[in-house]
């Protein structure tokens, strides 16, 4: 059993008083006190075309279905005008857009990975070279 810790720290001065959010989680298998122990490994992919492609394919991670898998993705660029569109494949309306990762933005989210409807797709906003950093933590329980 591995121990994977993830901490988030959010600070904002949108309000007249400071907002601080700090939270740490230990990634565990679904319904268990045991930690996740599989990963895709940390990867980097460079894109040079405005084309939607699969970043994480459910068919390659069949053990992850309906569990507690998690995905981290970051746009390694610094240009706030360039972004990746992150979508979940969905047969009922083609794709469900999650959101856009602008330069430097990151996400950490759970991944249902229940069917091909849940492939994680990415599309750059420009043909200029852009790079994603990503890793999936897989729950094989």
């Amino acid at each position: 059993m591995a121990t994977i810790n993830a901490s988030v720290s959010i600070s904002s001065d949108i309000m007249n008083y400071p907002v601080r959010i700090n939270k740490t989680m230990t990634m565990k298998k679904a319904g268990s006190c045991h930690g996740l122990e599989e990963t895709t490994g940390l990867g980097y992919k460079k894109y040079t075309a405005v084309t939607q492609v699969t970043l994480l394919d459910v068919s390659a991670e069949t053990a992850a279905v309906n569990k507690a898998s998690k995905v981290y993705i970051r746009n390694t660029g610094s240009d706030k005008s360039q972004y990746f569109i992150i979508t979940l494949a969905d047969t009922t309306d083609d794709t469900e857009e999650v959101g856009r990762l602008y330069g430097g933005d990151w996400l950490l989210m759970p991944w249902e990975a229940a069917s091909a409807d849940h492939d994680i797709m990415v599309q750059p906003s420009t043909a200029e070279p852009m790079t994603l950093e990503y890793i999936a933590f897989i729950d094989p329980s």
Binding site: I4, Y72, Y83, T92, P110
Partner: protein, 144 residues
């Protein structure tokens, strides 16, 4: 201009033999395509109870046309303590994933159409949760 900063740290000393995993990232959350910060924050906490009959969950936040294709960010944490209790997050009719007790998420939300609402539902047992949504400004039209 408001400044909202989000940082993440992911670490493990025993996930991959012989190699420690350390990921650290930080971003300043800006409006879409701009270098000006987000202007609206909505946050709170509540408790989700398990529906006794079939349920499609409750909307944490509806997508709005005003927010379409923006750079909103969502933080959500399941504060339950029972390892078997989880909150399922859907985007409209697509399941994103499960937040088990203690799990949190942080993701962008572009509200690309009004059928892109955030839906949450508890399974196993009651789940206290906390959330924050950071958004771009919205135009408010004065009454005539």
């Amino acid at each position: 201009m408001a400044t909202t900063t989000a940082s993440v740290s992911i670490s493990s000393s025993d996930l991959t033999p012989g190699t420690s995993l350390n990921i650290n990232a930080s971003t300043t959350c800006m409006k879409a395509g701009l270098t000006t910060g987000l202007e609206i924050i909505e946050m709170g906490k509540n408790t989700l109870t398990v529906a006794e009959s079939a349920s499609s969950g409750v909307s944490l936040k509806l997508a709005t046309a005003a927010g379409a294709d923006g750079a909103s960010k969502v933080y959500l944490c399941n504060n339950a303590t029972d390892d078997t209790f989880y909150i399922r997050l859907d985007l409209h009719d697509t399941i994103v994933g499960r937040l088990y007790a203690g799990d949190w998420l942080f993701l962008p939300w572009s509200q690309n159409d009004t059928a892109n609402e955030l839906v949450i539902q508890a399974f196993g047992g009651s789940c206290p949760y906390e959330y924050a949504i950071f958004k771009e400004g919205e135009t408010v039209v004065a009454g005539s």
